[in-house]
């Protein structure tokens, strides 16, 4: 009996160090986790640069609170000016020179496309990229790349479901930007309508280079449609909303999540002209009255004041940065002392119904070995002339 106990003790003491063994790839050590990032701090898309800054601020807070599993985050972020060749250069610098453990939240569809192959060839995680394109969810073809935000196709499918449910005899008109972003949405809409695709009576596209979309709106109005799906970036979204109102076309309007800024889109379009717009959301809006006393948002405002005082308190991109920061912190916590690139990817694909407190209630982060789309659920909301009012249930995903 005594012998057996001793053997058991011996086995336990042998087994224990094996369990606690630390495993590191380049960029990880007992004291540090190095994470690489590119963001457009200059150039045409520099408005997005605040995402990089708010993530850096988030990690600073994490470090002040003792880091993750005792390791400090060293977040190295470079400016790529939204130019793909510069993204390639900076990504190579981060991977080969700075030796980061993984890349995180590299921003922009073209920029991420430029490094997609490189990251997967090098087997360095291209983690939670800041773009809504659907192609990042491809665990088989590109096992080292993962998205984060709800993808465009999923969002459009939700509009399709809502149209079928609320207006089964609708005649749908679609305006979309003629690029991969616009086409991604359009595909989602088609897939979502499925057999009822014939409900679409008119599809018109525009180029980012067009000065206005006025003539497109006139064409769409002439089609006699009573539902308008507006797949446009902020400037064109404002033009479309205003023009439709001015020519007296009053369809039910769905506006894509890309352009729902009250300050940047609806105010220039005219708040009274925007009444009744429908869209989806997954983040808590910083200037939404409902969240004025919300604990998470209060905490976010305190975080902003302390760690990112230059940042705007009404810009939802700063909520975005804070939320994605929470997600990766959870992944790194799950990694424990096994900080290899493979394990980072494995843990990122093993987030089970994780609640990020600055996402809307009911929206959960969830991934799996064959599901590289962390956020898939969103909630519909309607604009009442002052603010977005959420209604219905959280939709999509599981």
């Amino acid at each position: 009996m005594k012998l057996r106990f001793l053997i058991g003790l011996l086995a336990a003491s042998l087994a224990h160090p094996v369990l606690a063994q630390k495993k590191y790839d380049p960029g990880a050590s007992d004291t540090e986790i190095r994470i690489g990032n590119t963001n457009p701090y200059s150039g045409p898309a520099s408005a997005y640069g605040t995402i990089g800054k708010s993530i850096a601020a988030y990690f600073k807070m994490v470090n002040d609170q003792g880091g993750i599993n005792g390791r400090k985050i060293n977040f190295i972020s470079y400016d790529d000016g939204y130019s793909p060749p510069r993204t390639v250069e900076m990504a190579r610098k981060l991977v080969e020179q700075d030796q980061v453990l993984f890349m995180f939240q590299t921003l922009g569809t073209p920029s991420n496309t430029a490094i997609h192959k490189y990251m997967n060839m090098k087997k360095v995680p291209q983690m939670m990229v800041a773009t809504g394109a659907t192609k990042w969810n491809d665990p088989k073809g590109n096992p080292w790349t993962m998205g984060w935000q709800p993808n465009y196709q999923g969002e459009a499918q939700i509009y399709a479901q809502h149209i079928i449910k609320s207006k089964p005899d609708a005649k749908i008109a679609v305006l979309y930007q003629n690029d991969d972003y616009g086409k991604d949405y359009l595909k989602g809409l088609h897939d979502g309508l499925g057999a009822k695709k014939s409900m679409i009576v008119k599809e018109v596209s525009y180029e980012v280079s067009d000065p206005t979309v006025d003539s497109q709106i006139v064409q769409l109005a002439a089609s006699g449609a009573d539902v308008f799906v507006n797949i446009t970036t902020p400037k064109f979204a404002a033009q479309a909303i205003r023009k439709a109102y001015d020519i007296g076309w009053k369809p039910v309007q769905y506006l894509n999540n890309v352009s729902i800024g009250v300050g940047s889109v609806l105010t220039p379009a005219g708040l009274e002209k925007s009444v009744g717009l429908l869209t989806v959301a997954y983040l808590k809006e910083p200037n939404d009255k409902q969240f004025e006393n919300d604990a998470a948002m209060t905490q976010w405002r305190e975080f902003m004041k302390k760690y990112y005082p230059d940042g705007s308190l009404i810009d939802n991109l700063n909520v975005y940065g804070y939320s994605v920061g929470q997600t990766i912190a959870q992944v790194l916590k799950q990694c424990g002392d096994n900080l290899t690139r493979e394990n980072v990817m494995r843990q990122a694909a093993n987030i089970k119904r994780y609640r990020v407190d600055t996402l809307l209630p009911g929206v959960l982060v969830d991934t799996g070995a064959d599901d590289f789309a962390p956020i898939e659920s969103v909630q519909l909301q309607r604009f009442n002339g002052k603010e977005w009012i959420r209604f219905g249930e959280v939709m999509g995903g599981r």
Partner: protein
């Protein structure tokens, strides 16, 4: 003269040794420096030597890059064979664009080329061309490996390949510019009517200069695409054209070695600026630029020449 040749060989030896001394990432950056040097030499032929300002050379760079990418992606052409094709296409495009643009002088030509530069990214997105250009998605191209089992990695091989092309282009450019053609171009720049009176066929020389200049930039674009392994319209915005112009002015107008200095400047100074200040990298870049222009009014090449001349005559 002897001393110059010695210097050039020394430089070559250093250039050959560098990729074995620095990391792959640095080798990649040096490859880009060589690529930019070819593009800047091209622009210098037009702007430095024949005095025609172009604000749209990014467009020819894009054209060359897309030629290479489409040939490799759609037709399976090997990477080295895309360079002559890109050069030829850009020569024709440059020559044709040069013909009507000839009637425009100075700032008006600058505006016409500027229009080309701004239009290019949007033309590349044009949906009827999407079959070839891939639209906004761009084209991803594979990286060439070293042939014949040479003991160098892909980055080093591409560097040596680019170095070879750069050498050929520089020798050709030097040959072109030091003789009759170079003199004729400079004469047109300094006094067009006088040049005409001396028997220089202004129109032909000017549009040929445009064509050759576009050819150089196109070859650079093709090499750049192979190095970066990706082309997309957003890679070639108007800013690229302006950076090229900055490069030749900082490097030294009407100077062959100036192209190399300019290339080093446009490759590394933005990175240094970004390291100095994240908030205002372009303000730092601007300070660098003003500093260079004030301290070296004839470009880095001019300053180096002055320095060497001083050392020789104590």
């Amino acid at each position: 003269m002897k001393r110059n040749i010695f210097l050039i060989f020394l430089l070559l030896a250093v250039a050959c040794a560098l990729p074995f001394l620095v990391s792959n990432y640095r080798t990649f950056q040096l490859t880009l420096v060589l690529v930019y040097a070819i593009a800047l030499l091209g622009l210098n032929i037009l702007t430095g030597y024949s005095g025609q300002i172009s604000l749209g050379h990014g467009a020819f760079y894009a054209l060359g890059a897309y030629c290479a990418a489409i040939l490799m992606d759609k037709a399976g052409v090997p990477y080295w064979a895309t360079l002559p094709a890109a050069g030829a296409v850009c020569f024709v495009a440059g020559f044709l664009f040069g013909l009507p643009a000839l009637r425009l002088e100075g700032l008006y030509l600058a505006l016409a080329t500027f229009a080309l530069g701004v239009a290019m990214p949007q033309l590349l997105k044009y949906h009827h061309l999407e079959k070839w250009t891939g639209g906004v998605q761009g084209i991803v191209i594979p990286k060439p490996e070293a042939p014949l089992g040479l003991p160098v990695n892909a980055d080093q091989w591409l560097y040596f390949f680019t170095l070879f092309v750069t050498l050929v282009m520089f020798v050709l450019g030097w040959n072109l510019l030091r003789g009759r053609v170079g003199r004729a171009l400079t004469a047109i720049r300094d006094h067009a009517i006088a040049a005409e009176a001396m028997g220089v066929h202004n129109a032909l020389y000017k549009s040929t200069a445009f064509g050759v200049s576009a050819l150089y930039t196109g070859v650079a674009g093709a090499l750049g695409a192979i190095a970066v392994q990706f082309v997309a319209p957003d890679s070639f915005n108007i800013f690229l054209s302006i950076v090229f112009l900055v490069g030749i002015v900082v490097g030294g107008l009407a100077s062959i070695s100036g192209a190399l200095y300019g290339a080093l400047f446009i490759q590394f100074v933005p990175n240094i600026a970004d390291e100095i200040s994240k908030a205002a990298p372009w303000a730092v870049f601007g300070i660098f630029m003003i500093g260079f222009v004030y301290l070296m009014p004839t470009g880095v090449a001019g300053a180096v020449r002055l320095l060497l001349a001083r050392r020789r005559t104590p």
